[in-house]
Every structure is written in C-alpha cells, then in structure tokens.
Symmetry: C2
Subunit: 330 residues, 2 copies
DNA sequence: GTAAATTATGAAATCGATGACAGGTCAAGA
DNA sequence: TCTTGACCTGTCATCGATTTCATAATTTAC
C-alpha cells in the first residue's frame, strides 16, 4: 500500500506535485505529470481515503434511513439511491430505524461525527425539533416523508391526492363503506394520505368509522392479520379497503378469498406502490403507481447539489405524481 | 464542532489525557476523568471519525455486494447484515453489481483504499483470481455464493441438497418432465443447485432437456416471460418447474393460469426462498425455506472476528440447511 | 534589457486524533 | 534514607493526504 510520499520519492518530486497531478491542478509540467502518472500506475497507488477525507473534511458517504430494508418499497428506494450516488462517486450506507427514535438519533450522530456527508431520511421517527440541531453538521433531506415546517428539501408523493384518487375510484365502483390501512400514524406523509381518504369520504357524504382504520399495516402478514380482524367484526364491515401497500393488499385479498369472500364482489381492495406482486395475485391488484427509483435518484441529486455547490439547505417541497392503475381487485 | 484540543484546553490537560479518557485507558485520575467527561458532555463533543480512522487504520465500514438491492432475498440479506453490524458499531454500505464485473472491481478498490474494512460478497461476478489480490488489503467473505478453492470463509446454503430435494419432491408427485429456472450460470451456488436437479433426474432415470433450462430468472416479470416461452414450445413441454425464486415462481404460476393451465394439475411449480409471497398467490407456492437474516448476521459475525481478533482469513465452508415447505403449487 | 506576469516546484503547516516515550509524584520496602 | 515500582500526565511524532506560501524558472510586455 504505497503512499503519496513513496510515489514522490520514486518520481524525485515533492508530495505537493504528486498531489497536484492527482487533483488535476494546472501548473504541473507535462513531462512530470506523465512520469507521476506512470509511477502511480506502476505501483498501483490509490490515495488513502481517510487521509484525504480528514484534510478535505468529507467522507464521500451518504446515509439513508428506512424503517426496514426488506420492504419492497424501501428496497427500491435503496436501489435508486445507491445507483445515483455511485455515479457521483459517493457511497451509500443503509440505516434501519425499525420505527425506533433512538436508532434515528444514532444516525444523526454519524452526521455530527462527519462519518457521513449527508443524510436522506426515508422515514422520520423523531419530532423534527430533535433532528433540527444536526442540520448545522450537514445536509439532511426528506424523501417519502413530509413535514410542515422543516427547512430542508422534501421529496414526496402527493399523498393527499393519491389517497383521494384511490378512494374516489372505490366510490365510483359503488362502495360506500371504505376502510383504510396504513403503516404508522407517526408519518406525516401517511397522514396526508389519510386526509385524502377522509376528504373523499366527506365530499361524497360517506360514513367514516374509527374501527375501519388499521394502523401497523406494512407486510403481507399484516394484511392476513387485518383481514382476520375484519372478518370477526361484530358490527358493520367495510366493503372496500384502501391498503397501505401492495404487500398488505395481497395479504388482505388472499385471506379474504380464503375466508370465502369474493374479491372484488364482497370486498374490493386497492394497493399502493404498484409493485410486480400486483400482477400475480388472484385477483390482480388495483394500485397506485409511484416511481420509487426516480425518487431515490432525485434525492441524491438534490443532496449532492447542496454538498458540492455549498448551496444553503432550504425548504423546497417537491411532490411527485402518482397514478391509478386499475386491475381486478376493484 | 469541537476538537480534542479544545476539550483539552478547557480542561487544562493535554490531548493525550483526553484521548485516554475517550479510550478508557487506566492511569487517569478519577478527578480528571470526571472533569473531562463533563466538558465533553457540555460541549457535545464527539471524536472526529476520519481522524481516528486515519490513526488506527480502520473505517468501521463494511461493504456488501448484491446483484440488485430490490430483490427480496438480497433485501433480506442487507437487513440482516445491517442489523448485526450496527450491534458492533460498524456501518454497512451497499453495492450493487447489476451482474457486471466492473462494478465488483470498483468495490474491491474500496478495500484497497481502506474505505471499507471488509467485504461481504453476496454475489460473485469475476473470476476468483481477479478478486484474490485484494485479500491482502482486507478480509473478504463469501455469502450465498460458493467457490471451489477461494481461501475465505464461505457461508452458503446446501444448494445441491435443496436442488435435489425440490426435484425429488416433484418426482414423488408423479412428474417426469421437469424444467429448471435459475438466475445466472455464472453463480457456482446456482450451479450446485443445478447439479442437485440433474442428479435427482438421473437417479430416477428421468429425461433432461436443454430447452427446459432457463437462465436469467430473477423477478416476477422473468417468470411471466418464461411461462410464455414454455407455452409456445413446439415440442414436449415440462409438467413441472423448479424455479429460481419465489418471485419467478409467482410469475410462472400466474401466467400459466392466465394461459389456461391448471396448477399444479398441468404444471407444478416449486419456488425458492419461502418468502411471504408464497402465501398469497393462487395456488400458494411450495418452496424451499432458507434463513436469510440469520445468514447475514452470521456473515458479519465471522467477518468481524477476522477483523477484531486479527485472525488470519482462512477457507471455511459453512453450509446452512434448507427445508422443503409444501403448499398448493405442487 | 528590465519589469511584470505566468508557470512550475518544494518546504512546511495542517486536518484531528492516537500512542510511544519521558518525566514526575508518591507510597511501600530495604 | 534510598530504591523501586505503580500511577499519572505531558510532549511530540505520526497516520497520509491537501494547501499555503515562498521561491525559482520562464515567458511576456514595454
């Protein structure tokens, strides 16, 4: 593992000159530049990353936080983010919050220690006020989450609209008793979606029942579980469900069919994310299409803009469009 | 962002003393230790990560390579690895090879630059000889992949056995014409699985046809595509398929049903990975259960053992068990 | 032909920590 | 009293790069 000193010695020049070659500074004679490059090649030298980072005060590392890395939506987000970051020579490390505030704060400490240059929050567990102090240490960007006042770039979907659209679709299909599943009440984004749901209901003078709203809907297993609960409801059951994700929808549908419901006859279900799974269940799943990879890529682009151009971080909300994709489950 | 010097000055001690407090060295008087800790707390000081890393020659960063981060199996692997690494205060960064040799070599350069302390290969794109030189720079571990001679810890599933078991199950169900889908022929692990498949066939004197073997089977869409190809086969079609993953199986099954096949009557399908999706298709998918999160955790444990205990890296193959889970698709 | 500007190079400080070494204090033992 | 060793603390070199500043060499301008 050769160092810049050894290269310098072999070339009979100073380390500054080697450094200049490395960083494409002008004011290096063509002859020396070629010689240095030759030796670098010959010795298979690469600059020591930590040393360079210490001097230039950057780690070329970004962090993404997600609740869990194995949810298809977040896996897709990680894919997009990693892909884009790599193009700009940044690395990406993945943090899972598991819905836990402490884990998120641990992540913030990485920013404080300059272990990472910036953070993409794919989830938000803490109150914003607990996050805000870390903004001094480096840029933070919110992605797939929303906050009313946070002074950072926010990239998210138009959740109100998608919620409204989904529910209106169910209403157009003749449903009046519509339930709602969502991941966590802690998420502003999910609450916007819920507002869309509620707004569509009230615009059409439809009833709204507390017990038709299901929290903690994340995975296929959650879908199975929730359907069981619906089945055993003593009072009125919903005839349609707007589910938090396609995974949940798949679980709901499967269990509904198992329990003898006809889908969409007795129970219509609409998913979210428009993942491939929508196409392989029976019936196939009507869903809300979102462009997750694009969201991830854009997040990196914005974050790096702040980082490389030293732009001050400012609040800037970008709503990504969503689209209804109708299939058999509604 | 205070430094150790500022803390030292405020405490009226030397930086070494602060460093000793930081690193829990003995030989610091209780009085000073308390005072230093108080000031550290008060100033909200945390050690500069790059500076420490430069001195101690470690980055506390591990890298995992996967073909794509959004495949459920690899997403699960990333989850397990991240989880375990976090417990040992290591960070994990994710690299996607997209089945491309160059990307994998880029990753190796990170090891060479000491940007990461070690690498977990969840995929292997290059010839081992091209990877081997980097072993001098830091530990590499193979996870979910196999190689005949590589002198590194290898954690993988008993793919031969699982392949054999899956096919035997199909044979026991009365099938004689059995096809095989797999991800990539470049993977030793997948080739072991294929050997299991071939071995089961020959042990039962069953035919083997080149055109029943499908490469590039990774996602749901691949499953849909392959089923179309099978449907249009001019000659004899398989009556059972051993598919590379549950995703592929789901696609195969859906398209088979769409095309009027009865599953498992006309076509039996067995998946791999035993993911939740197995439970929501119609019919549900018989699969091979594997413990992916456990695999990821174990990989980190082994790698860190080499790292912290300075153990020399040595070849050590660990085969994780797999289990057949029978459902409706066979 | 000299001043000024441009180009090229090296010495040394610096980033923020760690750790080898030296030196000092103090109590126990000879 | 003197030695010995345990305990405590500070000085300074170091990790491997970048960068400022000084200076030398060369070209351009007048």
């Amino acid at each position: 593992m050769p160092t810049i000193q050894e290269i310098a010695k072999l070339c009979k020049v100073s380390t500054s000159t080697v450094s200049r070659v490395l960083n494409n500074h002008p004011y290096v004679s063509e002859k020396i530049r070629r010689e240095v490059l030759r030796v670098i090649e010959e010795m298979n030298y690469t600059p020591h990353f930590l040393a360079r980072g210490l001097r230039t005060n950057s780690s070329k590392l970004l962090a993404v936080s997600v609740p869990k890395a194995d949810h298809p939506f977040f896996a897709g987000l990680i894919k997009g983010i990693s892909l884009q970051a790599l193009e700009f020579n940044y690395k990406v490390c993945v943090f899972q919050t598991f819905y836990c505030k402490e884990n998120e704060l641990e992540l913030m400490k990485l920013l404080q220690n300059r272990e990472v240059d910036g953070i993409i929050l794919g989830a938000l567990e803490n109150m914003w006020d607990d996050i805000a102090p870390y903004l001094k240490r480096g840029p933070i960007l919110m992605c797939n989450e929303f906050h009313e006042t946070a002074p950072v770039p926010i990239l998210c979907y138009n959740e109100f609209e998608s919620g409204y659209t989904a529910v209106r679709h169910l209403i157009e299909r003749g449903h009046r008793d519509i339930g709602f599943c969502f991941d966590t009440a802690n998420s502003e984004a999910q609450n916007m979606r819920k507002k869309g749901y509620l707004s569509a209901l009230s615009d059409h003078n439809l009833p709204y029942r507390e017990e038709w709203i299901f929290d903690g809907a994340f995975s296929i297993l959650d879908g199975l579980r929730i359907m069981n609960r619906i089945h055993h409801m003593p009072e009125k059951k919903p005839t349609a469900l707007f589910s938090g994700s396609d995974q949940v929808a798949a679980g709901l549908i499967k269990q509904a069919v198992n329990l003898g419901y006809s889908v969409p006859g007795d129970l219509a279900v609409i998913g979210y994310d428009n993942q491939p799974i929508c196409r392989v269940t029976t019936p196939t799943i009507t869903s809300i299409d979102i462009k997750v990879e694009q969201l991830g890529r854009e997040a990196v682009t914005r974050l790096l803009a702040c980082l490389t151009e030293e732009l001050p971080l400012k609040r800037e909300v970008t709503l990504f469009p969503t689209a209804l994709v109708v299939r058999e489950s509604t």
